[in-house]
């Protein structure tokens, strides 16, 4: 099936108006040798019913787990029904970036409200309309820090998500910046002494995550103070945004940039994307941060309205002087997050508490198993790392029972080989946790 309305008669009439004899004439500028004579080698077209059947079969070739025990940057949270209904409004999903503000007040106001909610959750002065994901949000904040300060060294905690660190390294390589790593201590937190040792006049930013990859909550304030003492900036990341419902925001602890992954707010796990990069900062960086920003203003009648603002930061105006090239972002995922937050409201606090209780229960249950113990002593949100007798065997049993297992730490953290990172959100039922305990005995 295709979506071209024209009948052959329509096409004839239009060709006549244009003054051409055939469709071929439209492509006369393409050198003849390179014009495809027949058709591309692609499968034959399908009617709608056939495409539905084909895609249903393809989707069914996946196996959904009974429950997910992995977090590690993507989280199984309950999505309230209102989210999908709002997102199905095609005035939203079939619209473009709101350059024509007068007919885009819907999304512009929604973005303004989202910006507000994020600044409140993170205790920052400004939040943008979205980045691609938590990893690129962190990488772009790091690049901005380096460019703002004219420095070329990034100090990154090893307890930041391994994929986020890889993305930062790629962006750093592209710009000629150096990356150095700070280790974690027995608590699973950034070693303050080590950070002090690494900071110098070339350091642009210190990149940390809280809760970090191991689920451990960092004390940001001392790290921010250390960074600032050397004129560097503090970038605090997060991967499960529901943690903001209960934890002290990094903005209150001295972070210059708060970045993270917003998938947990109303977006399905969707095999890794599309996700939602959150980027917020102090007011000092309002005129430099990447991405779209919506500002309030008035129209000719004095009515309140919203527009994209401070566009001179952006690539379409600053071109090679822009601090970022971002154009399309993750607007619809942002809308899902906004609706999620509007729907939960202050209940986000209770949701976050429920995550803490579930994780605590799972952690206690598993830590009681012979040969199993926590890898770290620090406080956690909804993820935690445990050492166990045989990580591969443990996950094999879990997968055989139809669960998505925990994250095996050996690959990215050889020093923690034998360790597994588990996550328990509000979606993990007690009976599954008890069952997991029995399976792993």
């Amino acid at each position: 099936m295709d979506y071209v309305p024209h009948t052959p008669d329509d096409q004839k009439e239009m060709m006549r108006a244009i003054g051409i004899e055939s469709m071929e004439a439209l492509f006369a500028d393409i050198p003849e040798t390179y014009r495809i004579k027949g058709l591309l080698e692609l499968p034959a077209p399908l009617a709608e019913q056939e495409i539905w059947e084909h895609m249903s079969r393809l989707a069914a070739r996946n196996r959904l787990p009974g429950a997910t025990l992995a977090g590690a940057g993507a989280y199984h949270h309950y999505i309230p029904a209102v989210v999908s209904h709002v997102l199905a409004r095609s005035e939203f999903y079939t619209a473009y970036t709101p350059y024509q503000a007068e007919i885009s007040q819907g999304i512009l106001q929604a973005i303004y409200e989202y910006q507000t909610m994020i600044t409140r959750l993170t205790a920052t002065g400004v939040a943008n309309a979205s980045m691609y994901d938590g990893a690129t949000a962190m990488a772009e904040a790091a690049v901005l820090a380096a460019k703002s300060l004219g420095r070329d060294r990034l100090i990154m905690a090893r307890s930041v998500h391994p994929e986020y660190r890889k993305v930062v390294k790629t962006y750093a390589w592209a710009n000629g910046y150096e990356c150095v790593e700070i280790p974690f201590n027995a608590a699973g937190q950034v070693e303050g002494e080590a950070l002090w040792g690494l900071l110098d006049g070339r350091s642009a930013a210190v990149l940390v995550q809280s809760p970090n990859f191991f689920g451990v909550i960092e004390d940001i304030r001392p790290l921010a103070d250390l960074a600032h003492g050397q004129g560097a900036l503090l970038v605090a990341g997060f991967t499960d945004p529901t943690s903001l419902g209960i934890l002290k925001p990094a903005g209150d602890a001295g972070a210059d940039f708060v970045v993270g992954e917003g998938q947990g707010f109303g977006n399905p796990m969707s095999y890794g994307g599309p996700y939602l990069g959150i980027l917020a900062s102090t007011d000092a960086f309002m005129r430099k941060i990447p991405g779209r920003l919506v500002g309030a203003t008035v129209d000719r009648d004095g009515q309140r309205g919203y527009v994209l603002t401070l566009q001179t930061r952006e690539q379409h105006i600053r071109r090679e002087k822009a601090t970022s090239n971002i154009c399309s972002n993750e607007a619809l995922c942002m809308l899902a997050a906004a609706v999620y937050l509007a729907s939960l409201g202050k209940n986000l606090g209770r949701l976050a508490a429920l995550n803490v209780w579930k994780a605590h229960y799972l952690k206690e249950t598993l830590s009681a198993l012979p040969g199993w113990k926590p890898l770290f002593t620090g406080p956690v949100y909804n993820e935690f790392a445990l050492a166990c007798p045989d990580a591969k065997e443990a996950n094999r049993r879990l997968e055989k029972a139809g669960y998505t297992g925990g994250y095996d730490l050996a690959g990215e953290y050889p020093e923690l080989a034998g360790g597994i990172l588990f996550c328990a959100t509000e979606m993990l039922r007690r009976e599954d946790m008890d069952n997991v305990g029995s399976l792993l005995k």
Binding site: D2, G106, V167, K248, P274, E320
Partner: protein, 480 residues
Amino acid sequence: MELIFEKSRPGRTAGSIPASDVPETALATLIPAGLLRDGLNLPELAEVDVVRHYTRLARRNFGVDVGFYPLGSCTMKYNPKVNENVARLDGFTGLHPYAPEACAQGNLQLLYELAGYLCEICGMDDFTLQPAAGAHGELTGVMIIKKHFERKGRKRSTILIPDTAHGTNPASVALCGFQVATVRSNAEGGVDIAHLRELMTKDVAGLMLTNPNTLGLFERNIEEVADIVHRKGGLLYCDGANANALVGVTRPGDLGFDIIQLNLHKTFSTPHGCGGPGSGPVGVKRHLAPFLPVPRVVKKGKRYRWSEDFPHSIGRVRAFYGNFNVMVKAYTYIRSLGAAGIRRVSENAVLNANYVMTRLKPHYRLAFDRVCMHECVFTGEKQVQESGVHTTDIAKRLLDYGFHPPTIYFPLVVREAIMIEPTETESKETLDEFCEAMISIAREAKENPEFVKSAPLTTPVKRLDDVQAARKPDVCWTLC
């Protein structure tokens, strides 16, 4: 319309959290009090009020489903509904990215096959699906170019970009530590060959070309352009934002391009979503394949898996694998259309743009009077000279006629630019209605310029004060 915060009332709630089936241990015993937040300032509304709020916001928004949206270079084509339904299948939305590969064979197969289709469509040898948007794809592409020269032990400092290029091009180049040198366009709207020859040295890594360009014109001298660049050991990058003009008719790989980024949310019908999510796959010829981001899907027999076994990869450009759910829609689209349908896309996209150009030529000055591809560029200069009505006024007046305006003031090389891209999914009647509106506005501009300058008059808000928004930025609500 009130903000959601203004509708908030203490104690109201829309969300319901289940009771805990595990002990509700006092939080301060689990997490030190100093790490806990005091209070949460989020709006409190009942569900009916949340839904009404967002429904009213939707009614204050304009999407392709509402009306014609001829934004040049954005390819605002119709977003098929079956693609939306497919993308919502649990099998596609429900998996954690770290689900075991054995449980994700459907997804892995989709990614592998999609990459194959894109290779065939573009004439490339391999594709990465990791980048999240076109600009992200451009950045990835420039990183690949950088890595290519690094591996050769040669550092080239500059990348050439035509003066008609989209801002993301020079921005991407600068973000990889390259200098930008701008190539002039000639009187026909193509690359100025003499200028290109002058600029193309062994210190230039390559040329980033949009083809057709942002003037909607196919680069007639593409063979010579490719030759000039390749002769000096440079790479030819294709910004595939305008692929809607070419799919099924010609292939960038055949035209001499070494690398291309596509925009699935343009050519491949996935919805724009008010600014994303998009997807910006990058295709390369064989010699650049080693540098593609990891991980990549590989196939062994009938099984698919992820592999990081590519030692010269540029690394990762994002976490996980890409905007997977967007790719589900693009895959569905390609399978729906098949080869025949894909060819009909470009044929009719170009037909529609030429039809609009023909009808509007007597009323607006054309930037370049030649057969256009999928978009045509006019200038509002005639109206400015005759009656002081600018392109922005024409665009605002179009809102009153119920259309989304074309792209305005881009490309920068055309003064008072009006870039119209109808796409292939519009009927002749819609195109005629649009042309009649534009013709009517041209007449209004002549007869009653002040009226046109006061537009829009029928939209939810009138013209907004951009200047105040930038001078005194108000980017978050602090009053309640």
